[in-house]
Structures are given as structure tokens and as C-alpha cells.
Symmetry: C2
Subunit: 214 residues, 2 copies
DNA sequence: ACGCCTTTTTGCAGTGCCTGCAAAGTTGCG
DNA sequence: CGCAACTTTGCAGGCACTGCAAAAAGGCGT
């Protein structure tokens, strides 16, 4: 069923770099990918409640115990988020020029992150369906973004020379992720249209939401 | 320990209306409040993992099974969110004038909602501490807001005559809730300062985030 | 006060998530 | 090969959460 060679990036992530070094590392990535794909696939078919961790593990040919070496919860496996994917976004943000306005830096960093997410239409449709049909998965997704948001906020605050719970930093980090969500909820969009929507959202954020509406 | 007569509003809610009718209704509110307060108190002292549902139920003098008649999860009890509290916010939004710009309506509806949350400084400090010391509680809070966000989005989209996953509607609903969060994360603020922060956040949202930064 | 109906509480039994621990199996390297 | 580091696995167990049916309690008319 699952194709072990296909990309395995999670909903907040991108595909892992192909620069596998040792056998160990390659195997780990493969297993993580298998688990993610198995989880997504099964939940798409039978709903979140209808799939047990045991099933997912069996599908990926590992023991149930091993499942929890890769993902802390069943939902995390469906989303496919990994700690490294968050690190990467933070890294991207850090490499933006220091004098760039914070919102522009976020925009650039998240644009790069989003691109690979939009590349596979079928995968995108599956994720969308899973999120729509299992409301608690949306909760889990928002929960999963909490960690990213905190780190984005810290990075932005540092860049602006403010402290960590500065309201402007909260707004910047939070609204940037809202924009990402606004792109992901859109169904039936081509990759280009999704990108357009991304730019539109950040334009609106930059220019102000006050004039939206009739 | 717990004071049954004290306000019991959850983190997204306000105190329930005092217009209790029958004994039945009063008792339910009392029990819900007791459970919420017990959960918050115990988790503040011993951490989320250190407290079982059984303990919370015992503290509120109900059976463990009854706990789940009031809250779907342990985290929900700590947050104290109720379905009615979400209804109320939506109602508030619905009563805003139809020709008001959406962001202004959200601002007004959420301002009313926020006010009672800021009234009790001690409670606010406890909540803040619980959220800070238990990262997974932040995840739960974000997850809990997902339902509210969806409904806000639907209401805003309807008001604008767009469909439910219109990107502008997503932005409006999402960023408004980010503003609320920006107020709640601030520690050591007086109620007045918190309100100022609220207005500041919405001013920024309305005027644009593009110029934030150094 | 009494009985009747509705709502709420409770106990029970069960499923499944998730964890720590220690044994067994793999990989990397000299 | 042989040792060290790491990963997988099984096992035992705690706890969250659910459905079901019996018991308790509130609401209400007579």
C-alpha cells in the first residue's frame, strides 16, 4: 500500500533532506515516513476513532511500542510533525536580514516552508479531508502549532529587542500562522492559486484588516 | 478548600448568568464550577500529570464518572470552557450592526467577552501559571479555541456574503483570537492595562502589521 | 404527602492510549 | 571479530474515557 520512496513531509513540514548519511538515519526516516503515511491513509479511510495505534504500527511493520518512539500521540502521526521541521522554520527566520521588517521575514520564511506542502495535490486533498471529517484533528493541529508559535514569537521578540510576551511579537507570530492556515483550508486550489492566496493574506496582514468587508 | 460561591468562568468564558431558575440548574452550575476550580487548583499545585480525574472528582464530591458528564477531558476542566460560552460570543457577534466592518464587530464582541476574564487578578495569575508550567495545556487551549474559531469564521463569512473558507474570513476570525491571546499571555498587568493592550492589538490589526518592528 | 415522569448520578466493565523498564536485536567502528 | 552505542520489542501497568443500565434526586400535578 504505502510507497516508501514517496515524500513524507508532515502538514507543517517539508520533505526531509535527501542527504541521508548512515543506514541508521535512513532507516529512521523511512520508518517515520511509513508510520505517517499509514496513519494518514487509515484515518482517511476509517476515521480517527476507527483506527488504533496497533493498526498503524502493523501497517508500517513495527511493534506498537516502536510507534511511540517516533510520535508522541496518534494525532501527531497523522499530522506527521517532527521537532526538526520546527527547527528548520526557525533557522530560516534566523537567516533573514536583520534589518528586514519582522512580518516580511516571517512571510519569507513561511513561504519557503509552505511550498513543498502544496506540491502534491493528492496528499493535500487527503489531509484536508482528514481535517474536515475529524474535528478533533483540527484541535490537534492547532495544538501542534502552539510550540511553533511560541518559538516564532521568541525569535521575533528577540529580533525586535522586546521581551518574549510583547504583544506585538504575539501578534506577528500568531497572525503569520493564521495566514498559513488560511491557505491550507482552501480546497481545490492549484499550487499557483494557493501561492497567490498566501501572498494575498500577507498583503492584508501588512496593510490592515480594518477595511475588510463590505 | 474551594469556595462554591465564587465566580467560575473558564478561560474563554465569563461567569454564568446569575439567573438560576430551578434547583436542578443551580446544582449543575455549582458542580461544574466546583470541578473547574478543583481542577485548576490541583493542577496549579501538582502539575497536569500529577493530578488524576479521580482526584478532581473527589475534590468536587462527585464520582469520577460524573466528571465526564461535565467535561470531555481533564484539560477542558482546567480551562473551564463550556459550549454555552461559545454560543454567547457568537450571539454577541450576531447582535452587532450589520453594516459595521467585520473587524470592528469582532473587536466589540470579544471585548465584552474578555472583560470578566480580567476582573479577578488572582485567578488570572493561576491560569497564567498553569499554562506556563504545563506546555501541553497551551496546546489544549489552542485546540479548544479551534471550535470557536470555526464558528467565528462562519459568522464572519456569512456577514460578508462569502463562503466559509474564504481567506479573508479566516484571517479575520483567526487574527482576532490571536489578539485575545496576546492580552492573556501578559502577566502582571492591571485590568486597565490589559484593556489597553486589547485596544492596542486591534488597532494594530486594523492598521496593518507591516510597519511593526524597529 | 404521594406517586409519576424526567433528569442526573453512579457503578461496572471494557477499550485503547501511553509510559518506564529491561532484554534482545542492529548498526557503526576500530 | 568484538565492543560500544543505539534501536526495537515485549511486558506490565496506570490512567483517560465510553456505553450501559440501575439507582437516586428533582419537578410537578393531584
Amino acid at each position: 500500500m504505502s510507497d516508501a520512496s514517496a515524500p513524507t513531509g508532515g502538514i507543517l513540514t517539508e520533505e526531509q533532506d535527501a542527504d541521508a548519511c548512515g543506514l541508521r538515519e535512513r532507516k529512521k526516516r523511512r520508518t517515520r515516513g511509513l508510520l505517517h503515511r499509514a496513519a494518514l491513509q487509515l484515518v482517511a479511510q476509517e476515521g480517527l476513532a476507527g483506527v488504533t495505534v496497533e493498526r498503524i504500527a502493523a501497517e508500517a511493520d513495527v511493534s506498537p511500542r516502536t510507534f511511540f518512539n517516533y510520535f508522541p500521540t496518534k494525532e501527531a502521526a497523522v499530522l506527521g510533525t517532527t521537532p526538526e521541521s520546527v527547527d528548520r522554520i526557525i533557522d530560516r527566520l534566523a537567516t533573514r536580514p536583520a534589518d528586514e521588517p519582522p512580518l516580511a521575514s516571517l512571510r519569507a520564511a513561511l513561504r519557503e516552508t509552505l511550498t513543498p506542502l502544496l506540491s502534491d495535490p493528492e496528499l493535500r486533498a487527503t489531509r484536508r479531508a482528514v481535517l474536515q471529517q475529524n474535528p478533533s484533528m483540527t484541535d490537534a493541529l492547532l495544538g501542534a502549532t502552539a510550540g511553533l508559535e511560541r518559538r516564532l514569537r521568541a525569535a521575533v521578540a528577540a529580533r525586535m529587542g522586546r521581551d518574549a510576551d510583547d504583544p506585538d511579537a504575539v501578534l506577528l507570530a500568531g497572525t503569520a500562522l493564521v495566514a498559513v492556515r488560511a491557505v491550507l483550508v482552501g480546497g481545490g486550489l492549484s499550487a499557483d492559486e494557493a501561492h497567490e492566496r498566501f501572498e494575498h493574506c500577507f498583503d492584508v496582514l501588512a496593510g490592515g484588516l480594518g477595511d475588510l468587508g463590505r
